[in-house]
């Protein structure tokens, strides 16, 4: 299980990386943490002719927390994000999702951008990005910077809107201002740390009366991309999240899923799980102690 031959260049700057990507078109691929890419290359399911290593680009690392949004460099390690207490307060769902991602060894190496660009429909970070409608910042030599909402970023399993000459540089996560924000991330995998058979995530903001003021929710592992349901989230606004409401919303979301089948879970089971997990997530977030203010 050895990768097919490739050439390797360590990018000295983002411009350098973009030049290389522009020069080699689809033959080149950026590598960040490599926790998905390297195994795929080892199995020869991915075989770029040129790897452009963006790991050492300081410009692609770090967490900048503003009042309205958090900007996280694409090459920021998952482990660094996981240990960033301020980030937890600003974007609670991101932290909740990270807790389910792989293991210490993979999070030490894996990056936020890498997981999103890999776009496994069962992965946690893409679901978090879809639910919160994060903005993916792409750069290319010819096109400069391009910003895509998560809804337009994930196209199909392992397929995103990132062009052959583009590099994902940053992810902007919306900060929900004000008090009363809570979230929940639920998933079922047979083994800890594995990709989920189905997952559900939501972030909710409640007012002083406990009514839902703002909501976002979605499902993972039950379609070719993570699914967000803004219309169903809107239905929660102004209401208390009761068992009945959570069930209604979860079942409607699950009904819209298009799950596939594999050796561990067939489509029917995944759809069922989706409804259960989203209902649980909504109820848990609805009842959870909420953050005082971001």
């Amino acid at each position: 299980m050895k990768a097919a031959p490739f050439a390797y260049v360590r990018a000295e700057s983002l411009d350098h990386a973009l030049d290389l990507l522009a020069e080699h078109g689809g033959e080149a691929k950026p590598i960040a943490g490599g926790q998905s890419l390297v195994p795929m290359m080892a199995m020869r399911l991915a075989r770029p002719a040129l790897l452009v290593d963006i790991n050492r680009l300081g410009a692609l690392k770090g967490v900048a927390i503003g009042p309205r949004r958090v900007v996280i460099g694409a090459a920021t390690r998952q482990r660094d994000a996981e240990q960033d207490a301020a980030l937890h307060r600003a974007v609670p769902l991101l932290r909740a999702a990270l807790a389910w991602v792989g293991h210490v060894q993979t999070r030490n190496r894996g990056t936020l951008g890498g997981s999103l660009a890999h776009a496994d429909p069962s992965a946690e970070l893409p679901l978090a990005a879809a639910v919160l409608d994060a903005t993916l910042v792409l750069a290319s030599r010819a096109g400069g910077e391009r910003r895509l909402p998560a809804a337009g970023f994930f196209l199909a399993p392992m397929t995103t809107a990132v062009g052959e000459e583009e590099c994902l540089t940053a992810i902007e996560w919306p900060v929900w201002e004000g008090p009363g924000v809570a979230c929940a991330f639920e998933e079922v995998a047979i083994r800890h740390g594995d990709f989920a058979m189905a997952s559900a995530a939501c972030q909710i903001q409640r007012d002083a009366e406990g009514l839902c003021r703002r909501a976002a929710l979605g499902l993972g592992g039950v379609a070719g991309t993570p699914l967000a349901f803004p219309d169903l989230a809107a239905r929660l606004e102004g209401r208390r999240i009761t068992e009945a409401l959570a069930r209604e919303v979860a079942e409607e979301a699950a009904a819209r899923a298009e799950p596939g089948s594999d050796t561990h879970a067939d489509a029917e089971y995944r759809r069922h799980l989706a409804a259960v997990l989203l209902r649980r997530a909504l109820l848990r977030a609805g009842a959870a102690p909420a953050r005082a203010a971001a």
Binding site: M1, A4, I190, R191, M197, Y269
Partner: protein
């Protein structure tokens, strides 16, 4: 309980002598053998379950710089002898590389040899093979149906072995039983899946005509089979048993790997290594385990006492077979489990299909059989509305009836089964489990308690060989030890097989130290190579504590006896006047005249004039031990003493099931275990913990799944799921000791402990959890999806909401 004999070293805590090299990264595994000029192999494998090879063109691969050879089956087969199955099926021939036809997806078609493994993989991609797919069969029952595609047409049938045994008046007993029930259970294909794959490195020397082999193997008679298949005399193959094997638990047979690599090394005149990668290992490593459908009928009385059992076991061995059909044979020696079932009919059928071949897995077929039997005990209890534990108590063989002869001809050596069960229940403690179960149910979970009481036959013998193959008259499966004392008095023990984590060096040095009354840490144990070794049948069938321990004790006793004779001669005393104490020969009446170890060794090595007349100089002894109780051929109706010793385990498990997702959590796990006298308690406990974890995998998550077109769907570690520390719960082991009367120290085997009762107990717990909803599962693994389907079916079927209540 018999009082365990007291020992100086046996049964005491002692650090395993192997550990130090492993924790410092200085183990020496087969992949660590670095030889100058080493070449590397990659495999071209069949993508089809069944096909003709229409064309094979290796020219592009051979043109790649750094590629040394592309070997095909056309070239290899005429040069070697086939690997034959253990049963009498001479047309089911297996070679390392396919020739003309392929019979499973993943079967090796060509081997590419290159300067590096990466380059070999590059070249393997360039080997062009055209296949013409042919009809295939992947379901074992379909494979037996008339008109099914034949995996080996020359054999004439897909049944590679089929025999119905009748031990006692089963039909009469069933007819006379007040109650009968029949059920089917399915044990899915899983395996031990060691973290190290198969590795084989070989080097041929033209001048000496010697093939050196370093392989990660655990296989009886491996050097002899390898030499025969390579058409070399046995003394032209030297297998080095001093490599550390990175786990095996049965599967590391690797004969086809070694034939291929040995042939390549000889042909190319360069050392060659084949280090299977994980994908090759899962698909083409031929290491998948039993894959069985059991149909069982039990006849029992109103008290739940089982009188008779009819069992049909259909085992899917895949496309070729080595020893795998014997995995239906070994359970003959414990076919009634720990129970007093009086008559048994057993139909054993091994079926060929277009799947990866089956290989030996921990327990050699006993764990699936135990699961089938234990399911029956639970069902009898449920049918009668009785407590599952009470039903077991009524069926367990009572301690006063040992040695106990079971209907299929094996004498159980010793046991106190109810006592071990009681100890496990007390340790749980069971009353607390009942309360916890209620508490979990009150939380809205499904919760259940699982029970199993199972046997671990040990001291691995080959009795299933003549039982399953009348042309095979093997009646010994000896093991041996050579002991040398050098002229400075240091003791070296030589064992004749490799180890894969069983701490044999610790075993042998402890035993030898016990007999000689010498500090075990002063005794070095080495692994011979096959040309300097005494015979061994490798560490299979939970046999080494018994067989290697027995051989080491035998050799040590010979050394001790010889030193006592030297002492008697020099002290002019009769031998009976001396005793062996603290490593010296001590006159009972005059301890001050004792002859020390050093003095006795000096006489043996240097002072011929002080040796008793006729005694050889020097100080070394060999001991080759036959399996106790073995040596016989089967009766015409198939009764035979299978293994000599019988360990026992009682599992008690508390599990919960999420009623909506089907996900299982284990909250408490207790194993009562009796393997007689433990030589190294830490080692026994370690293997038991590991066996439980392995059993958890088989029960809940591990499966080699195949698509209808014969493609392996779980061929990587991403989809074949080994349990991690977050799935395996803390495990409590409760020891009990019923010494075996057949062994040197009263020890029994324990290498398969935990695994033999674990899957049955976990399945029992899940079914206990599902029972209030009227749901049940009869197949492993009990995955969340499978549990959810069973719950859904039960809810749909349930019109009257009156759940049957389980009584524990």
């Amino acid at each position: 309980m018999a009082e365990a004999p007291r020992f100086r070293y046996i049964g005491r805590r002692r650090r395993a002598v192997e550990h130090r090299r492993f924790v410092t990264g200085q183990g020496r595994f087969a992949a660590d053998i670095a030889l100058p000029g080493l070449l590397h192999v990659a495999i071209v494998a069949s993508p089809h379950a069944s096909a003709r090879i229409a064309r094979l063109d290796a020219s592009a691969a051979l043109a790649l710089p750094g590629v040394h050879a592309v070997l095909t089956g056309e070239e290899l087969q005429p040069e070697i002898e086939p690997m034959l199955p253990g049963v009498d099926a001479p047309e089911v021939r297996r070679f390392p590389l396919a020739r003309g036809v392929v019979r499973y997806a993943g079967e090796w078609v060509a081997a590419v040899v290159a300067e590096s493994r990466a380059l070999a993989e590059d070249a393997a991609e360039l080997v062009e093979v055209d296949y013409a797919p042919t009809p295939h069969v992947v379901d074992p029952e379909a494979a037996l149906a008339p008109g099914a595609p034949l995996v080996h047409p020359a054999h004439g049938s897909n049944a590679i072995f089929r025999r119905e045994f009748l031990w006692g008046p089963v039909e009469e007993d069933l007819a006379a039983s007040p109650h009968r029930l029949s059920y089917r259970v399915r044990w899915s294909r899983s395996a031990t899946v060691p973290i190290e794959t198969f590795v084989c490195t070989a080097s041929w020397n033209d001048a000496t005509g010697l093939l050196d082999v370093w392989a990660s193997i655990q296989m009886p008679k491996f050097p002899d089979l390898l030499a025969r298949c390579l058409r070399l005399p046995g003394n032209a193959v030297r297998v080095h048993f001093d490599v550390d094997v990175g786990g095996s638990y049965g599967v590391k047979r690797g004969l086809k790997h070694a034939i291929l690599v040995g042939h390549l090394a000889r042909r190319l005149g360069r050392p060659v290594r084949f280090l299977e990668d994980r994908l090759e290992n899962m698909r083409g490593g031929d290491m998948q385990g039993p894959d069985r459908i059991f149909d069982v009928t039990l006849g029992f009385d109103g008290q739940g006492v089982i009188r008779a059992m009819r069992m049909r076991a259909l085992d899917d061995v895949g496309a070729y077979a080595g020893r795998s059909p014997f995995q239906l044979g070994k359970p003959v020696g414990a076919i009634v489990g720990p129970y007093t079932i009086g008559s048994v009919a057993y139909e054993a059928i091994s079926v060929l299909t277009n799947k990866t071949p089956q290989e030996a897995v921990r327990g050699f077929g006993q764990a699936p059989t135990n699961y089938a039997i234990e399911t029956g005990l639970d069902r009898v209890a449920r049918a009668l509305g009785l407590d599952r534990i009470e039903v077991r108590r009524r069926n367990l063989i009572p301690p006063e009836r040992f040695p106990y002869l079971i209907p299929s001809g094996t004498l159980y050596d010793s046991g106190d089964y109810a006592r071990v069960l009681d100890k496990a229940l007390a340790a749980a403690p069971f009353e607390a489990l009942l309360r916890q179960r209620e508490a979990l149910r009150a939380e809205g979970k499904l919760a259940g308690i699982g029970i199993s009481t199972c046997l671990e036959p040990s001291g691995g013998n080959s009795s299933f060989e003549p039982l399953f193959n009348p042309k095979n008259t093997t009646t010994t499966w000896m093991d041996s030890c050579l002991l040398r004392v050098d002229l400075n008095g240091a003791v070296t023990a030589v064992m004749a097989t490799s180890s894969s984590g069983q701490a044999h060096e610790t075993l042998v040095s402890t035993v030898v130290g016990e007999v000689l009354q010498r500090d075990p840490d002063s005794i070095r144990v080495i692994h011979a190579d096959s040309l300097s070794a005494l015979p061994s049948n490798s560490p299979v069938g939970s046999r080494m504590a018994i067989m290697l321990g027995g051989a080491a004790a035998g050799a040590a006793k010979r050394i001790r006896d010889r030193l006592l004779r030297i002492a008697a001669h020099n002290l002019d005393l009769p031998e009976e006047a001396l005793e062996w104490r603290d490593g010296a020969a001590v006159p009972r009446a005059a301890p001050e005249r004792a002859l020390s170890w050093a003095r006795l060794v000096e006489i043996a090595h240097r002072e011929f004039h002080n040796l008793p007349p006729g005694m050889e100089p020097g100080l070394q002894e060999a001991f080759v031990w036959e399996v106790p109780g073995g040596g016989g051929l089967p009766t015409p109706d198939g009764r035979i003493q299978m293994y000599p010793c019988h360990s026992f385990e009682a599992h008690v498990v508390l599990a919960s099931v999420d009623p909506e997702t089907g996900k299982v959590a284990l909250h408490r796990y207790v194993v009562g275990h009796d393997c007689g006298v433990m030589i190294s308690p830490d080692v026994v406990h370690g293997m038991t913990y590991g066996g439980v974890a392995h059993g958890l995998g088989a029960a809940l998550m591990e499966k080699f799944a195949y698509s209808p077109d014969g493609q392996l769907l779980s061929g990587s570690f991403m989809d074949y799921l080994l349990p991690s520390a977050q799935e395996v719960p803390p495990i409590l082991i409760v020891d009990h000791c019923t010494p075996s009367p057949l062994t040197e120290f009263g020890q029994k085997g324990s290498g398969e402990a935990g695994y033999l009762g674990g899957p049955a107990a976990i399945a029992s717990a899940v079914n206990d959890a599902l029972a209030p909803l009227g749901a049940a599962l009869d197949a492993l693994p009990m995955t969340p999806a499978a549990i959810w389907r069973a719950l859904r079916a039960a809810r749909a079927a349930q019109s009257a909401p009156v759940p049957a209540r389980e009584t524990a």
